[in-house]
Structure formats: structure tokens, C-alpha cells
């Protein structure tokens, strides 16, 4: 006969205001099997927990019900508490009489009755609970980092420096990410490449880090502690061992029609190319979709001129398989295509460019050698207009959120224009200025006061061409007047978005994304670097738009989460998973098909008499305890451990007399 202890929490006023906790205590005390029924103001507090622990010991309780807030908050707390008192932690049940009772009802009398029923149901359930032991699985102490921008680089360095091996998979031919595309960084106006390249070199030279560039994730299976990942190393068509990085092939390539993605499509690049001068690895790649040889079988000039005989047209994609204990996603962000804004030219006006395109223009390794010129006629612009929030904060056509970075980079770019072209007139149309980081507000003030950039609070309604000017028609809401500026160049701060292939990637990784395709964090306040999938962590803008310091912080945070895994030799897993009674299993295989995690498999055993027998097996470390198999089993031979009492709960509910 079970000896049940029931502890009812007041939760301050949260429960006690709307549920008569004394009445509940008294009613429950009369339940069969209940040896003690107590209530207390704050059960989760130290004295509260001590009350529970003391009663467990004094009254030799062997089943505990805590009637309180949602188990999501304190189930672990009370499990730990009774474990300390010598009781198996899985002999506990939480009755949620706050979120599911006191907080959602207004009639105290009825709410109290409901609370009593909820506690009765939990008592019925806990009587069936068994003492469960935690399961262990081996931990593969290797990390996979997807993406080699500053986020991926930082995470990889942190994990490697703690003594574990890391593999980085980067889709582009070089590491470096977005920072490599920037000229200067706010608010210090550091040269971006100058602060990035030392880290790039560090990560490249680190013996614990293996980098696969021009590579993609092919598939991911397994679970935390033991992921199996297949990586596709795409064929560069250049032998990385032989190439000396002379660049002759790039110079001589006759096919110069491909769009230069690194320069945000402002100019073209050859079919064989190195994305930027400081690229790591400094080995070119042949873009087969634009190469004369791969399209028509002609040319082969690069092979002819290569002094190291490094060109190899026969190279093929290679798929490698590796195992990892943890994965860090650091895939970065994309940018909104502003051609949906037909009022801004729909992408057709040449001198209306994006912030990234301007950044590439300013960069000395950009399309115009660091000279800021108009794309249409390569003349220096004397009147430049910036429009902030193009696509951000726009529920109708664009994204509803704020992209966070644009106010700062617009201020930065307006300063850079004034530095390059001192007599230029620069205007910024804004809705609000968001400059909340360290030294950010002062930076924007510098642009306005020191550099004389004119900030106009208002939106731009239309851009159109008039001769060689772009006419900007906007409003100055502080003056309450319309404003028309004949600009030489207009720069749009387009919305930061998720990478365009995020949906596909998320499915491969088995990770949740939100409605804007950003990866979902485990908790908006307390879990910003973990995904909802165990063992997969998030770094940088793939989770939400971030500037460089935030990216670096989150990358280190994600790295630490991976290191927490690796600090143990074994994975400890919750035992609240399915278990199959093989005596009554008919091997129909329904559970295997229906399991969303692939956690049930068929295995063949050899009995002592030599006979082989097949049976269904639950993979302990993969099972998430969702219970779908339990519902699907025709023979009713699958049980969800910790949920044996589910039918007793229903029986108890049937007796409710409202």
C-alpha cells in the first residue's frame, strides 16, 4: 500500500487567492493512501523543500504529489529534493493547480473543487509510478560547427582551446563570412578584415580544428552525444595540396560573366576565382555553372597556365561521414531582396543600392578599388540619401521585426562617405534610431554633429529617375513638411533575414525555426544559445539579427554548452521513455513506422538454444518520450515509463461530480 505525501503550495497569492488551499489540504487528507497533506506559502523555497524532505524521512513516504505551478518550472527542483531525502526522484507527480486552475478561473469555489480533483488525479497516477534509473549513453567529444563566419570561428576556437576536436563545414570557398565583406566596423571604425583575419588564421592553423570549405551538410542523424553527419565536400576542381596560390588562373580565365556574389553582384568575376584577397584557404574554385570547359568542353586555359599543375577537372564531390557529440549552427543571415518595393524602383534603378553594396564599394578590395562611385556612370556622388527600415518594421510587405544593425551601419556608412567625399551632402531618412550598444549612441551623435550628416525623421514615399538624378520624395515629420531631394545615389538599409535555405537546413538538422525562418531558441530569456533539440546550439545571426560583439558572445556561449556535454564521459538521459514488453509484441512494426524520431528498431537476437528471434527495441538515447508508439500499439505492449498511471488518472476523472 502506497504511502503518499501531498504538498500544496500557496505560491504566495498566485494560487491562494483563487483556490482555498486549506480546503484542498483538508479534503486531500481524507484520500485513501494519503499519509500526510500539507500546504505552505512557497513550496519551492528552502523551507518548503525542507518540509517535503523532512516528511519523506519522518513518515517514510514513498510517493509524493506536489500541487503547485507548472512542472516545467519546478519538477526538477522537487525531484532533486526527494532524491536528497533518499527517495527515487521518479516517484513524484506535479499537479498543476496554478496555470491550469487558479490562473484561469475566476470562481474561487469552483476553482477549489477543480484543484481537489486535479490533486486526486495526480495521486491516482503517482501510485502507479515506478522507481526509474537514469540511462547513460557514450559521449562523442567532437563538435561540428556549421558556418565559418566570425560566430563559427569563435565557437570553434573556444571548443578547440578547451581540448576537444572540432570540424567546421563552410559553404563558401573561403571562411570569413559577413565580416570579410565589411570595410569598417562600428563603433570603433576598426578595419574589419584587420580584426577578422588573425582569427581566420588562428582557426586555420589550430591542429584540433579541421575546416571543410566549399562543403555542405548532406544529412544528420543520431542524437545528442552521438550524431552521425554526412558532409559533402564539393569539387573545387583545384588540387588543394598542389596549388601555390599564384592567382594566374584567375587572371587568365576568359569567362568573366559570372556575378560576383562577394561583391553583392556589383561586378562580375571569372569562372575560376578566389572570393577575396585574404581568402582562407587561398585556393581558387571553379564555378562549374559558368566555366567554358564544364559547359561546352572548351578552353582549359587555367590548366595550361597553372605552374603547379593543380587544376583537376576530373575532381568529384566527396561525401564523408563523421560522428559528433554536439553541433553548433552558425550559418549567419541573408538580406531582403528589395525589388518588392516597387516604389523604390523595384531593383531597377542602378543608383539605388543596398547597404551591403555600398560597403563593398567602400572596401578597397571591392569592385571599384575603394572609390565610392555611382554604379551607373562611375562618377563620385555628391548627394547621397540613406533610407532606413527598408523591409524592416513592415508588416504589410516586409518583415515585422527590427533588424537591429541598420541604424548603426547607416551611421557608419554616412561617416565613411563624408570621409571619402568631404563636400558630399548626406541625408538619412529614419523612423527611430536604435543605438543601444556600448558607445553606439555617441557614435550616431558623431555622425550628426561632427560629420554633419542630416537626419530626417520620416519615410520616403517614392524614388524615380530624372535625368541622371534619383529624385527622393519623402517627409520630414518633425517639420511637418514634404521633402524632395535630388540624389546622386540612394542607399537602402534592407532587412536582415534568415538565410534563404534555412527551411531545408532546419529539416536536415531536425531543429525548429520560427515564422521568420530564424532558428528557435530553447527559451527566449534563459536559453538564447540552445536550440530546442538537445545537443544542437545556436551562434550568431542564424538565431536573430546580431552585431559582431553579440555574435561573438553567443558563439562563446554555444561553445560552452557544447563543452558542458563534453565534460562528462557519458550522456545522462531521462528514463521517461518507452519500453516494450516483448512477450506480447506481435512485431507488426507500427511503432517503428510511427515514431517521429526513429527511436524504435527491430533487432535480431540469438537465444541460448541457438534459435534466432526478432523483437522490437526502443533506442534509449533517441526516444523523446512522446508516447505516440504507446497509442499506436495494437497489442498494448508498449508502456511509457513514468506514465503507467495514465489510465488511473482518467478513471479518477470519471468520478468527478461537478
Amino acid at each position: 500500500m502506497a504511502r503518499v505525501g501531498v504538498f500544496i503550495c500557496w505560491c504566495g497569492n498566485n494560487i491562494a487567492d483563487n483556490v482555498d488551499v486549506d480546503a484542498v489540504r483538508d479534503a486531500i487528507a481524507l484520500e485513501p493512501g494519503v499519509v500526510c497533506s500539507e500546504n505552505y506559502r512557497y513550496m519551492c523555497s528552502s523551507p518548503g523543500q525542507n518540509l517535503v524532505a523532512d516528511k519523506v524521512k519522518q513518515l517514510k513516504l514513498d510517493r509524493i504529489v506536489v500541487a503547485s505551478c507548472s512542472p516545467k518550472l519546478h519538477e526538477k527542483t522537487f525531484r532533486g529534493c526527494i532524491e536528497q531525502a533518499g527517495l527515487n526522484p521518479y516517484l513524484l507527480e506535479i499537479a498543476n493547480i496554478r496555470e491550469q486552475c487558479s490562473w484561469v478561473h475566476t470562481d474561487k469555489h469552483l476553482a477549489t473543487k477543480k484543484a481537489i480533483e486535479l490533486v486526486r488525479m495526480s495521486i491516482a497516477k503517482v501510485k502507479r509510478s515506478k522507481a526509474l534509473k537514469q540511462i547513460t549513453a557514450p559521449m562523442e567529444k567532437r563538435a561540428l560547427v556549421i558556418g565559418a563566419g566570425i560566430g563559427g570561428i569563435q565557437a570553434a576556437l573556444d571548443i578547440a582551446m578547451a581540448g576537444h576536436s572540432v570540424v567546421i563545414v563552410e559553404r563558401n570557398p573561403s571562411i570569413g563570412g559577413r565580416m570579410a565583406q565589411l570595410d569598417k566596423t562600428f563603433p570603433t571604425m576598426d578595419c574589419s578584415a584587420c580584426i577578422l583575419t588573425p582569427r581566420m588564421v588562428s582557426v586555420f592553423q589550430n591542429s584540433s580544428i579541421k575546416i571543410h570549405t566549399y562543403s555542405e551538410i548532406e544529412s544528420v542523424s543520431g542524437h545528442v552525444g552521438d550524431f552521425t553527419v554526412r558532409i559533402r565536400k564539393r569539387a573545387r576542381s583545384v588540387d588543394m595540396e598542389k596549388c601555390v596560390g599564384c592567382g594566374l588562373c584567375v587572371e587568365k580565365c576568359p569567362m568573366k560573366k559570372a556575378k560576383n556574389e562577394f561583391n553583392a553582384d556589383l561586378n562580375n568575376r571569372p569562372a575560376i576565382y578566389i572570393p577575396f584577397p585574404q581568402a582562407i584557404p587561398n585556393v581558387p574554385v571553379i564555378d562549374r555553372k559558368n566555366c567554358s570547359f564544364f559547359l561546352r568542353g572548351k578552353c582549359k586555359l587555367c590548366q595550361k597556365v597553372c605552374p603547379a599543375e593543380a587544376i583537376d577537372y576530373t575532381q568529384e564531390d566527396e561525401i564523408i561521414e563523421e560522428r559528433f557529440g554536439g553541433i553548433v549552427i552558425a550559418t549567419g543571415h541573408g538580406l531582403l531582396d528589395h525589388s518588392i518595393y516597387t516604389e523604390y524602383g523595384g531593383g531597377k534603378i542602378k543608383d539605388v543600392i543596398t547597404g551591403l553594396q555600398l560597403e563593398r564599394s567602400i572596401s578597397s578590395c571591392g569592385p571599384w578599388g575603394g572609390h565610392i562611385v555611382r554604379p551607373s556612370d562611375h562618377k563620385e556622388p555628391k548627394t547621397v540619401v540613406f533610407i532606413q527600415c527598408v523591409g524592416s518594421r513592415d508588416e504589410q510587405k516586409g518583415k515585422s521585426y527590427c533588424s537591429k544593425l541598420c541604424c548603426m551601419y547607416t551611421a557608419k556608412q554616412s561617416i565613411l562617405i563624408k570621409e571619402h567625399i568631404p563636400d558630399a551632402r548626406v541625408f538619412v531618412f529614419y523612423i527611430d534610431i536604435r543605438a543601444s550598444g556600448k558607445n553606439y549612441e555617441e557614435f550616431v551623435r558623431r555622425a550628426q554633429v561632427e560629420y554633419g550628416v542630416t537626419y530626417i525623421r520620416g519615410r520616403v514615399s517614392k524614388l524615380f529617375e530624372d535625368g541622371d538624378k534619383v529624385v527622393v520624395r519623402g517627409t520630414d515629420t518633425l517639420l511637418g513638411e514634404p521633402v524632395t531631394i535630388n540624389a546622386d545615389m540612394v542607399v537602402l538599409a534592407t532587412a536582415i533575414t534568415a538565410q534563404p535555405d534555412t527551411k531545408k537546413m532546419a529539416r536536415k538538422l531536425g531543429v525548429a525555426i520560427n515564422k521568420n525562418d530564424f532558428y528557435s531558441e530553447a527559451h527566449p530569456k534563459l536559453g538564447p544559445v540552445e536550440s530546442l533539440s538537445a545537443g544542437v546550439f545556436l551562434a550568431g545571426s542564424c538565431e536573430s539579427p546580431k552585431d559582431i560583439p553579440e555574435t561573438v558572445s553567443s558563439a562563446s556561449g554555444a561553445a560552452v554548452k557544447a563543452l558542458l556535454l563534453f565534460s562528462k564521459d557519458e550522456m545522462i538521459l531521462e528514463p521517461t521513455i518507452s519500453s516494450i514488453d516483448t512477450r506480447t509484441c506481435v512485431l507488426c512494426g507500427t511503432c517503428k513506422d510511427i515514431c517521429p524520431f526513429g527511436a524504435i528498431d527491430e533487432e535480431e537476437l540469438t537465444l541460448r538454444n541457438g534459435n534466432k528471434v526478432r523483437q522490437m527495441k526502443v533506442l534509449d538515447s533517441v526516444c523523446h518520450g512522446c508516447g505516440v508508439c504507446v497509442a499506436s500499439c495494437r497489442s498494448k505492449c508498449i508502456q511509457l515509463q513514468g506514465n503507467e498511471g495514465i489510465f488511473d488518472v482518467l478513471e479518477s476523472f470519471k468520478k468527478v461530480n461537478v
Partner: protein
């Protein structure tokens, strides 16, 4: 058989549009019948005063049109806008449909399809006819196609073309031989009814439109709305006076340009009735 809704402007100050539309339809052997007992669509005044009233009076026109045909042709962009809105509301809003049927006491199937005269011209069978006629060559005639605003907005109701940068009419005119120029003010407002209440506004707005067309090298502006035409045409001398510039830009209706192309004599298209001389331009460039 098509139902034809001329609207108020075409009966009076903008006769040329009505005359030329009917001349073109006759020449192309398109059978049409004027909507019996049609009433004013209310244009901007009615929906400004009462949305429901404006819907009701446009709705009545749809009911009357149904007596002739389920295909309704409307030359004026403002009338087109109101009639199309009534059609949209009737067919997409349970609430509005009930209200209209109850308060007007009229019966209506909802089946009348509202088309702008320009859309009629762009129908594939009509376009074929136009191209097959022994045309007066429109080659080398540079036109600025002026869409105006009521034709395309709101976009999800009007569904004529993309409101900020349309090219449907440009494509049509290029197809029948004219050369449409790329210019920046093809959808900018002409000032509409401010022509009567505050003509200075119209002067400012039409000056920008006329200058832009001139800068783009157009020989004439082609419109699809009587109010646009009259603002650009009748008020042009006032604009020249206010800004001290000679503009001299003839403003034609789509039906007049098409009519010229299919060989209808200019006088039959009322081209001699414009305020800014259109006959000289036609003699020079077209004939």
C-alpha cells in the same frame, strides 16, 4: 454583345472620349448596347460622403448592365474604379452583399464582369482585329502612356497592373506600332477634381507630369481617363502661364490613338476639339 457605360464626363465636357470609343467599337464591329437608365457612379464625391451610398449607386449600374450583357465596358477610370469596387464588395463580402440586396431591393446575380475600355482593346481577339486592319502607321510616334492613379489602386481590387511601375498599356501600344517612352510620372496624380476646387494644385501636379513627358521625348501623352485628359489638356495653358514655359503637348485618349491607327478620320474622333492642338501633331507625325 457588350454593355457600355459611358459615365457623366463622356456626355459633357469629355465628349471626345465617348465619340472616339464608340467610333472605334463600330469600326472593329464590336456589338454594344448602352446600359439603360444608368446613373452617375459617384466617382470621388460619393465615397467621400458615404461608402455605403457610393457602393449602392454603383451597384445599381451593375444591375442595369446585367439587362444588356454580363460584359460591361467602362471608358472612364474613375467610373471603372467605383463599378469594380461595387462588384468586388458584392462578390467578396457577405455583409456588403446582404446590405446591398436588402437596401436597394434590386436583384443581381453578381455575374457582370467589369472591364475598362483599355482592357477591351487588349483582349486577344480585339487586338488581332486591330492589327489586321489596314493601319495608318503609328511608327515613330513617341507616346508617353499616362496611367493615372484610379485605374490601378487599390491593387487587389483593380487588378489591372502593378501600381508603381505598370507596363501593360505600354506593351499594348508598342504592339500596335507606336513607341512608348520610359518616363517617371506615369502613375502620378493629375489633381483630379481639384481642377474645380483648387486649380493651383492641378497646375503644380500637371506641370510635373507634362515636363517629365517632354523630357522623356514624347510627342504626345495618351490617357485612359477623362479627368486626366482634361487636367492635362484644358489646364495646360494655365500651367504654361504659371511656370512661364511653352509646353505644347497634345493629350490623346487611348480610343483616339487606336482609332487613328485603324484608319478612322481624325475629325470623327473629335481630335479637333482638344484645347491643345492635336491636329498639327497628327498631320506631322501620323498621317
Amino acid at each position: 454583345m457588350l454593355a457600355y457605360y459611358p459615365g457623366c464626363s463622356l456626355s459633357a465636357s469629355c465628349q471626345e472620349y465617348g465619340t472616339s470609343c464608340e467610333a472605334v467599337m463600330k469600326k472593329l464591329e464590336i456589338e454594344y448596347g448602352e446600359v439603360p437608365d444608368w446613373n452617375c457612379c459617384g466617382a470621388s464625391a460619393a465615397h467621400n460622403y458615404s461608402e455605403d451610398l457610393s457602393l449602392a449607386i454603383s451597384f445599381r449600374n451593375l444591375v442595369m448592365a446585367e439587362k444588356v450583357s454580363h460584359d460591361l465596358i467602362v471608358p472612364c477610370s474613375a467610373c471603372f474604379n467605383r463599378l469594380k469596387t461595387a462588384d468586388y464588395q458584392f462578390n467578396n463580402s457577405e455583409e456588403k452583399r446582404e446590405w446591398l440586396l436588402k437596401n436597394t431591393g434590386l436583384e443581381y446575380s453578381g455575374k457582370v464582369k467589369v472591364e475598362h475600355f483599355a482592357e477591351l482593346m487588349m483582349r486577344s481577339d480585339v487586338l488581332k482585329k486591330i492589327k489586321e486592319m489596314p493601319v495608318v502607321s503609328l511608327q515613330g510616334v513617341k507616346i508617353a502612356v499616362y496611367y493615372g492613379c484610379m485605374l490601378m489602386r487599390p491593387a487587389d481590387i483593380m487588378r489591372f497592373d502593378e501600381p508603381d511601375n505598370p507596363d501593360r498599356l505600354d506593351k499594348f501600344f508598342n504592339d500596335i506600332g507606336a513607341v512608348s517612352v520610359d518616363w517617371s510620372h506615369k502613375t502620378e496624380c493629375c489633381g483630379a477634381i481639384f481642377s474645380l476646387s483648387n486649380v493651383d494644385v492641378v497646375y503644380d501636379l500637371t506641370y510635373k507630369i507634362l515636363s517629365s513627358a517632354k523630357k522623356a521625348g514624347a510627342d504626345c501623352i495618351v490617357t485612359v481617363c477623362p479627368l486626366c485628359q482634361s487636367n492635362l489638356d484644358l489646364r495646360q495653358r494655365g500651367v504654361e502661364k504659371k511656370f512661364g514655359e511653352k509646353i505644347d503637348m497634345p493629350i490623346l485618349y487611348i480610343s483616339q490613338l487606336v482609332g487613328l491607327g485603324i484608319g478612322i478620320p481624325p475629325k470623327e474622333l473629335d481630335l479637333h476639339k482638344h484645347a491643345v492642338d492635336a491636329m498639327r501633331f497628327i498631320k506631322q507625325k501620323v498621317l
